[in-house]
């Protein structure tokens, strides 16, 4: 963000071109679909990062809103024969937001560990509904029998078409989330994460800002859920299970909390690793666990944090070399130096 905006723009442009070109590079369809999953899980993981990384709320109920988005698609299409994409998306976002408004009010009665436990329990309630309200949700069997719908220029029945739909959704969500974290609202969230007491003393209703953050994050999770349902043309209780909750949390921590782009990276690593490993061994979850432990031990700020730290170290070494009379910039400006 600081200093070299043009090189950042160039990098983002190059990555974007690459992402657009991928379905046309003649890669096996398998990889295109893995990337599609990455974009969808990326939205979900970024929505959780808004809570974990920026607001300091470790929510275990983000999978519930993902699942709500997915089930809205399936239930609307199969029970009510309602297949308009945009209206379905809107309804999914609204249902998630309303649920989040109720759940957040309950969860924010507690802090820290209490908050985690309550969100975990609330997630289990939604899972229980999906699992046991068989007449509506299909129970353990889930819901099949609905198909992808074309959205604007995207012919989603094709692999590439759905890839582009997901990529577009990712870019829109990433842009919106970036705007949010760089806005005055985003600064308040970070303040509430760092020192809620101080923020309250300054006149901020910390509860309200956390409440709003939980609702906003749920809306993004619902977008990911809608895409996920269409992508699989199937919805089951697994999508909002505790497993999913833990997986997206690992994506966020692996990639780097409070960075948005890190969780996207984490999503990619988890999607690719779990697919590659499950081909080789039944025990791939074990290996994922090991990767997670290594990350927490040696790169607690995630991959993005590690890269930033290495870059800062390289830069300060670079700055030290020609320092004849002037102070190295890293020492002068602690923002550039490695985080302590």
């Amino acid at each position: 963000m600081t200093g070299r905006p043009w090189s950042n723009v160039a990098i983002i442009g190059a990555l974007l071109l690459l992402a657009i070109a991928i379905p046309r590079l003649g890669l096996p369809a398998f990889y295109v679909s893995l990337l599609t999953q990455t974009w969808i899980y990326g939205i979900l993981a970024m929505s959780l990062d808004l809570l974990v990384g920026f607001t300091g709320l470790v929510s275990f109920m983000q999978a519930a809103f993902f699942g709500i988005g997915a089930y809205v698609v399936a239930i609307a299409a199969t029970r009510y024969h309602f297949t308009d994409f945009w209206l379905t998306l809107l309804i999914a976002i609204l249902v998630a937001a309303v649920t989040a408004a109720a759940f957040a009010a309950l969860a924010l009665r507690a802090e820290d560990v209490g908050f985690i436990i309550i969100t975990l329990a609330l997630n289990e309630i939604i899972w229980g509904l999906a699992y046991q309200w068989v007449s509506m949700s299909g129970g353990d069997n889930g819901i099949t029998g609905f198909l992808r719908v074309d959205v604007g220029p995207f012919h989603t029945t094709g692999n590439a078409g759905f890839y582009y739909l997901s990529l577009t959704a990712l870019i829109v969500c990433l842009t919106l989330l970036t705007l949010i974290v760089r806005s005055p609202f985003g600064l308040v969230l970070v303040g509430a994460r760092e020192r809620p007491r101080r923020m309250a003393a300054l006149g901020y209703n910390v509860w309200l800002f956390r409440y709003l953050a939980l609702i906003v994050a749920a809306m993004f999770a619902a977008v990911a859920g809608v895409l996920f349902a269409y992508y699989n043309e199937f919805v089951g209780p697994g999508s909002l299970s505790l497993d999913t909750t833990v997986q997206i949390l690992i994506m966020v921590i692996l990639g780097g909390t409070g960075t948005l782009i890190g969780p996207l990276l984490g999503a990619g690593i988890l999607v690719f690793l779990s697919n590659a490993l499950s081909d080789i061994t039944q025990r791939w979850v074990l290996i994922l666990g090991a990767v997670y432990v290594v990350t927490v031990m040696y790169a607690p700020d995630g991959i993005v944090g590690l890269v930033k730290q290495l870059a800062a170290r390289a830069r300060s070494r670079h700055a030290l070399a020609p320092a004849a009379g002037s102070m190295p910039s890293a020492a002068l400006n602690p923002r550039e130096g490695p985080e302590r």
Binding site: L179, I180, F185, R195, L202, G203
Partner: protein, 260 residues
């Protein structure tokens, strides 16, 4: 609106803060016992007392972090006894904490901007970049220039020295143009030079804001305030002007005598 304790008849200046019959119990422990306090507009008040006298608890009751067991608190005639801290801040109450409480992972200027924005509607803007709101940053830099800290505006707060952090914290409180500022040991843990910086900053501030100061260092208290309230085991045992406090036998016995 009931004002239970009788305002000090000394002057006709508006009453800023009024506490009447304030008690705070934690189980059987009476931390505050029937405390009455009346601070006028623009007054500088010191609160002294030995450790455990209930000074910080009193602050937390005034700031809204603790609800009193009984009694009530008025700010400019308005009852605030049950208001949460953020609502009191909106009525013109600002505070510093005993251990400097800034937002360490943010820059100095971001800390000040958060303070300046707090009482506006800007914090609810969620799709406009912060860089768009130049006015807040410029105001923050202007404030920093007053204490010669503008050169480290974009440093992370945690990179500042202890005294500088304390200055920033007081600056954050004053940036909101409060009517009442609570200072919990503003010079605690500071070097003598840093303490002078902070004391001068407080003395120089214009008289529109009332300040209540908790302090162990009596030289600081005598430098900044004009009246002193002495708290002992949760009770107000004396309230005197700075000039006459030395002569008060109760104070000599329990505070000055006991400590020195």
């Amino acid at each position: 609106m009931s004002v239970a304790a009788v305002p000090d008849p000394r002057s006709s200046i508006e009453v800023c803060l009024q506490l009447s019959g304030v008690s705070k119990r934690f189980g059987n422990l009476h931390v505050l016992d029937d405390v009455a306090l009346c601070v006028r507009h623009g007054e500088r008040r010191g609160i002294i007392g030995p450790n455990g006298a209930g000074k910080t608890t009193l602050f937390n009751v005034i700031a809204g972090e603790l609800a009193p067991t009984s009694g009530n608190v008025h700010l400019y005639g308005r009852e605030i006894t049950r208001l949460p801290p953020h609502a009191r801040a909106r009525l013109g109450l600002a505070r510093t904490f005993q251990t400097t409480t800034l937002l360490p992972g943010l820059t100095v200027v971001e800390n000040l901007v958060l303070s300046l924005q707090a009482l506006t509607s800007t914090p609810f803007q969620c799709f406009v970049p912060r860089t768009h709101y130049r006015g807040f940053r410029e105001e923050a830099l202007r404030l920093l220039r007053q204490v010669q800290l503008d050169h480290c505006a974009d440093w992370l707060v945690r990179a500042l020295g202890h005294g500088e952090q304390r200055q920033v914290e007081i600056l954050m409180a004053l940036a909101q143009r409060p009517k009442l500022l609570l200072l919990d040991e503003p010079t605690a843990g500071l070097s003598a030079a840093d303490a002078v910086l902070v004391t001068d900053m407080l003395r120089a501030y214009h008289r529109d804001v009332a300040m209540i100061l908790i302090e162990h260092d009596l030289s600081v208290v005598f430098n900044v305030v004009e009246r002193i309230t002495v708290l002992h085991y949760g009770r107000v045992v004396a309230e005197e002007s700075v000039e006459s406090i030395h002569g008060n036998p109760v104070v000599q016995e329990i505070y000055l005598g006991g400590k020195l």
